[in-house]
Every structure is written in C-alpha cells, then in structure tokens.
C-alpha cells in the first residue's frame, strides 16, 4: 500500500475513533449541561451516575438472559436508565434541594462533591460490587461492519455513533417542540418569571435530573460496550472530561454540549494517534484553555456584559 493511502486511512481511523469517543462524551456532557442550565450547579456526582448505570447493566444482563436468552443484550439499558433516573432524582431531593434553599453556590458545589464521594464509596461497600474491577459481558457483536483500506469499523463503534446521534436528535426535538422542553428552557432562563407563567419549577428540575441521569445510563452502555472493565471510579475521569466538553461548547447550551463532546473526542483520538497517548489528557485540557481564553463563554456561548 502506498504511503499517502496509509496516511489517509490512519486519518480516517482516528476520525472514527474520535466520533465514537465524542458521542459518549456528548451524552454525558448533556447531563451536566442540562443540570447546570437549570440550577447553576456543577453536578460532580454525574460521573458516578455513569458508574451506577454500568453496574446496573452488569447485574441486569445475566438476569435478563436467564429469563430469555433470545433477547438482545442491550435491552438491559432500559433498566439502567430507570435506575439512573431514580438515583439522580433521589440525589436532587435528598441532598441538592435542601442545600440550595439554605446555602450559597459554594455549599451546593461541596454537596455535589460529597455526593460523588458518597456514591463511589457506597458502591464499594456493597459486597456484590466491592473495590476490585469486574469484566462486563460483550454487548454488541465485535464483528467488523467493514474492513476497507486498513480501516476497521466494528459494530460497537457504528452503533455507538448511531445511538449517540439519535439520542441527541431526540433530545433536541424534545427540548424545542414539547411543552415540557419549553418549560425546561424557560426555567433555565428565568426562574421567577417561569413561576409567574405557571410552570412548576421543582417538578421541571426533577424531570431535568431524571433525563440527564438517564442519558448517563445510555452513555454507560456505549462506554462499557467498548471498555469492558468496570470499577467504582470508572465514571470519574469520563465525567470530568465530559464536563470539560460541556464548558467548551458553552455550559447550559444543549447543542454546545454535543459540539463540545465531539471536539473533545476528536482531540483525544488524534492526540493519541499522532502525538502521544500519555499526553492525550493534557491536550484535551489545553484545547479547553485556548478556547476559554479566546472565547470565555465557550464555543456557542454568548458573552453577556455585566450590568452595573
């Protein structure tokens, strides 16, 4: 094979991996951005929702196959979505809401950090989970869809990208077209005014948490389909990078999170492919810093001047 063709196929391979990573980051970033948009809180526990989703998948898949082994494995994600949504809503009701009423932004942030610690360590304390890693069952077939010019595209990658894209389109339609979606946007813009037009703010916040955490479960399916080891801390770094993605795109803006996720995924994949895998994280943060210095509100964010 000629050199230039090899270069091209390397490039395309990086692009495919980047898109796969990017779809996972984008889904997690959506959860961050929706919660941030509505209550102005960096939900540090969001990364751990992914872990919750992952372990739910881990335990549901064998149970489901025991009932009927003809079912497709990924159907377990429905249970994971439900569990994650429940955990998200519980965290909001038990921890965030009481603190939001009493404390400042900073205390809410500390509560989020504490919740993240709590979830991670609670999972470790459960005997069936424990501190050691577990191996997840393969969820999608690892057969290649196409193998062309040294580019391999397997089912996991293809399905990850497709699921990511369809969830994002669905969410965008939901937020733009439905009554609930409009209520969510209204609350994130102005809480007092949305009370005046008859929106139940607390209910909207709960629904936002449920949707955001549900997205984390979908992200868990996509992530653990690729990397099969699962630990109680496996959501932390993923969550952190997804948060970076949300800020990169402009936090609080839903298309921003999608764009940011894809950018982070591509940067990571190209750095790993062309420069060094151990420097990939540094480059992700470097891109963030450069974007924030040039455009402090993120790629899609609007700079709002301060009123005196």
């Amino acid at each position: 094979m000629s050199g230039s063709l090899q270069t091209l196929s390397d490039f395309l391979q990086c692009l495919i991996v980047g898109l796969r990573l990017g779809s996972v980051y984008a889904l997690v970033a959506l959860g961050y951005t929706m919660v941030y948009g509505i209550i102005r809180l960096i939900n540090f526990a969001h990364g751990d929702f992914i872990m919750v989703g992952g372990y739910t998948l881990f335990f549901t898949i064998p149970a489901m196959l025991a009932v009927n082994d003809k079912l497709p494995i990924w159907l377990a994600v429905i249970v994971a979505i439900a569990v994650c949504a429940l955990v998200g809503v519980t965290v909001e009701l038990v921890a965030y809401r009481p603190v939001r009423k009493k404390g400042t932004n900073m205390t809410a942030l500390i509560t989020a950090i504490a919740m993240s610690l709590f979830l991670e360590n609670l999972a470790q304390a459960i005997p069936a989970i424990g501190p050691n890693y577990k191996i997840m069952r393969r969820m999608f077939s690892n057969k290649a869809v196409l193998n062309f010019l040294n580019i391999s595209l397997d089912w996991t990658t293809l399905l990850t990208i497709l699921i990511g894209a369809s969830v994002m389109i669905g969410l965008q339609l939901f937020v733009k077209k439905t009554k609930l979606g409009r209520a969510m946007r209204a609350v994130s813009e102005d809480k007092q005014a949305s009370v005046l037009v008859g929106i139940n703010v607390n209910r909207t916040i709960i629904i936002t948490f449920a949707i955001g955490s549900g997205l984390a479960a979908v992200a868990a399916l996509m992530y653990f389909a690729q990397y099969s080891t699962i630990m109680t801390t496996s959501g932390t770094m993923l969550g952190l990078k997804a948060f970076v993605a949300a800020v990169l795109g402009g936090i609080g803006i839903i298309p921003g999170a999608m764009l940011g996720g894809l950018v982070i995924g591509l940067v990571e994949s190209f750095t790993t492919g062309y420069i060094s895998s151990s420097l990939a994280d540094a480059f992700v943060f470097l891109i963030l810093i450069i974007v924030l210095i040039i455009k402090p509100a993120g790629i899609l964010g609007k700079n709002v001047g301060e009123k005196v």
Partner: protein, 377 residues
C-alpha cells in the same frame, strides 16, 4: 477601629504564646520517646502542617478573593517535585552526605523555598490567562491547568520516569535527598512547625495589609472596587501567585515526609483526603474568609480521617460498628453532607479566632463573676 496599641499587643501576645508552645514542644520532643510518639504523632504532625498551609493558602484565593480554583494541588505537585529533585541534586553534588549534618537543614530550606518560588512562577503563567474568567469557567480552567501540570510532570524525562531514583512514572521512589524516615521526622519536626508558623504569619499579615483589604473589596464588588482605583487584575493575579507560593512550600513539606512521590497524590480527585477538591472542601467547611477556620478544619478533617481509618479498627467496638467504618470515605462523605446542611457557612464563617480577644472575653467573664460574687456577699 483597631488602634496601634492593641495591634502591637496582639502581635506580642501571639508571639509569646507561640514561643511558649514551641519551647514546650521542643522539650517534649527531646524527652518523649514512646513508639506511639514517633510512629503516630510525628507523622501526623507533618501531614497536618502541610494540610494547614494548603487550606489556608487556598482560602486566600477562595475566601478572600472570592475566586474558585480547583487546581491547587498542581502547585503543590510543582513544589514537591522541585524540592525533591533539588535535594537529590544537592546530595549527588556532595553538598550534604549525612542527613544529620547542619548543612542539611540549609539544603532543606533552600529546596522548600525553590519549590515555592517555582510554583509562584507557574502561578503567574497560569493566573494571567485564567483570572480573566470568573465563576465556574475559572473553576474549570484551573482544574485544567492542575491536570496539565500533573500530566507534564509525568512525561518529564527527569521527573517521572527516571529522575527520582529510576522509579516508574506512576510511583517514582526517591531513596535519597529529601524523604524522611520516622527518626528524621522526629528530629526535624521543628522544621515543619516553624515553616507552618512562618507561612501562616505571612498570610495573616497579607490579609491585614492594604493588599488584603483591596482583595476583600474585589470579592464584595468587583466593579465598585475597580471604580475606586483598585487595579483588579493585578490584585487578582498577585493573590493567586502568593497563594501558589505557599502551595509550593506545602508540596515541599509533603516531599519531606513521604518516601515516594507520584502525581496520583496531586490529582483532582482520588481516594484520599489530599487532592484539589478536598482542599476546597477544607476551606468551605472551615469557613471561607477565615484563616483560623481553615487551620481548624484541616486539623479536624485529618483527625476524622485518621480516627475513621485507624482508631475504630483497633478499638474493641462491636463488629457491626467496625464494619460500618470499614469504608472511611463513605463515613467522611456523610459527615461532610451533615456539616454542610447544618452549617452552610462553615465552622467559623468569616470570624477569626484571636488570642487577645479570647483573653479579653475570659477576663470579662471573670470580672463579671467577681462583681456578682462581690454583690452577693
């Protein structure tokens, strides 16, 4: 309004109190030789001293300047690696051969100072672009810088892979240079204490100066502050750099009392109480804008962690209690949530503990009591 006389009295009282405490400690140190003392108490003392410096220095940025920084451990990492590498260089150059020689103390101090200064220089490089942002954006950009610092250290040929006695990148051991065993920790315990006191004194003087009042006004209203002639960005970067300097010193102390260095200790989150998030937690729990609060909460957090980890296990508690405390960070998280729910402003809020005021308070109480007793006779 505090007049000059009470200010002078305050300095005097505090200096005398500290001198008495230090003397008492030195006498104790020379005579007290039980295993508990050298294996448990002294290592804890070292840990507490760098935790105190870290929490107090972050409080300058978070509590007094009002800017959230999530990358404080990055500066600590710079201080730790600089101090360790420099002392290693000193030893290889033959400046000190014996860790008991007096010249070793000089090289410790030089290494610590160099760690602090390098951290401050990086603080300038990070602070100038980062402090243009505010709030959550500043938080995430400082987090990013913290991550990059650790990542770069891991990839440096002389720090990560081979520099510190040819360890692996993840856990590079250094057997020489700094890195005290328990005997040396006991011998040089006064170094940790004196450095902690000096750092805290420098921070107290900073917040009570014109500079300190200026940054508090920036915290309260940035626009009003700049309208009254305060150069906001200069003061912001200045405070950030000052705080980074002390984080570097704390890193140097950390390098002294650990026999191995790994950037995992300075990560954004990890399973222990030393990471950038937990320093923020210490500051908030102690009270944003209270240096004594930070000191108090650093000690409390350490003790809580220590008690949960070791004492409960060793005590003759019933089994179910021990099982409950098998996961220290779980209990930790619950305690943290409870503290935040009931004391959202932190333990001390913005108040400072002051020896002079306490003495006055006790005097007042005693005086009242005396008057009462006198009246009833």
């Amino acid at each position: 309004m505090m007049n000059k006389n009470t200010k002078l009295k305050g300095y005097l009282v505090n200096t005398v109190a500290l001198a008495v405490l230090l003397m008492a400690f030195l006498i104790l140190n020379a005579n007290f030789k039980t295993p508990f003392y050298s294996v448990v108490f002294i290592p804890s003392l070292w840990q507490i001293s760098y935790l105190i410096i870290l929490a107090a220095s972050l409080n300058l940025v978070l509590g007094f300047l009002g800017q959230l920084s999530l990358g404080h451990c990055g500066f600590m990492a710079i201080g730790a690696y600089t101090a360790a590498l420099l002392s290693l260089y000193f030893e290889r150059a033959g400046i000190f051969t014996d860790k008991k020689a007096p010249v070793f103390i000089v090289s410790i101090l030089v290494s610590l100072l160099a760690g602090g200064l390098l951290a401050a220089i990086v603080g300038i490089i990070v602070g100038i672009p980062a402090l243009r942002l505010k709030g959550d954006y500043l938080a995430i950009i400082t987090l990013g810088f913290g991550m990059i610092i650790c990542n770069v250290i891991n990839n440096l040929p002389f720090a990560g892979m081979e520099g510190l006695s040819k360890g692996s990148a993840a856990a590079s051991l250094y057997k020489t240079g700094l890195g005290f065993g328990n005997t040396l920790k006991t011998k040089y315990a006064w170094v940790a204490i004196v450095i902690t006191i000096l750092c805290l004194a420098a921070m107290f003087m900073f917040i009570r100066s014109r500079f300190g009042r200026a940054i508090e006004s920036i915290r309260d209203d940035e626009i009003a502050a700049s309208a009254s002639g305060i150069n906001v960005s200069l003061y912001k970067v200045g405070t950030f750099v000052y705080s980074a300097f002390f984080a570097g010193i704390a890193g140097g102390l950390f390098a002294c009392c650990n026999s191995s260095l790994s950037t995992a200790s300075f990560a954004f989150t990890n399973g222990s109480i030393l990471n950038s998030t937990f320093i923020v937690v210490m500051v908030v729990v102690g009270g944003m804008g209270s240096l004594t609060g930070s000191m108090l909460s650093a000690v409390l957090m350490f003790l809580l962690n220590y008690v949960i980890k070791n004492v409960i296990k060793a005590s003759g508690m019933p089994l179910f209690v021990q099982n409950l405390f098998k996961y220290p960070m779980l209990v930790y998280a619950i305690v943290l949530i409870i503290v935040i729910m009931f004391k959202p402003k932190g333990i001390l809020g913005t108040r400072e503990f002051s020896l002079v005021n306490t003495i006055e308070y006790i005097k007042g109480k005693l005086g009242k009591k005396a008057v009462k007793e006198g009246g009833s006779k």
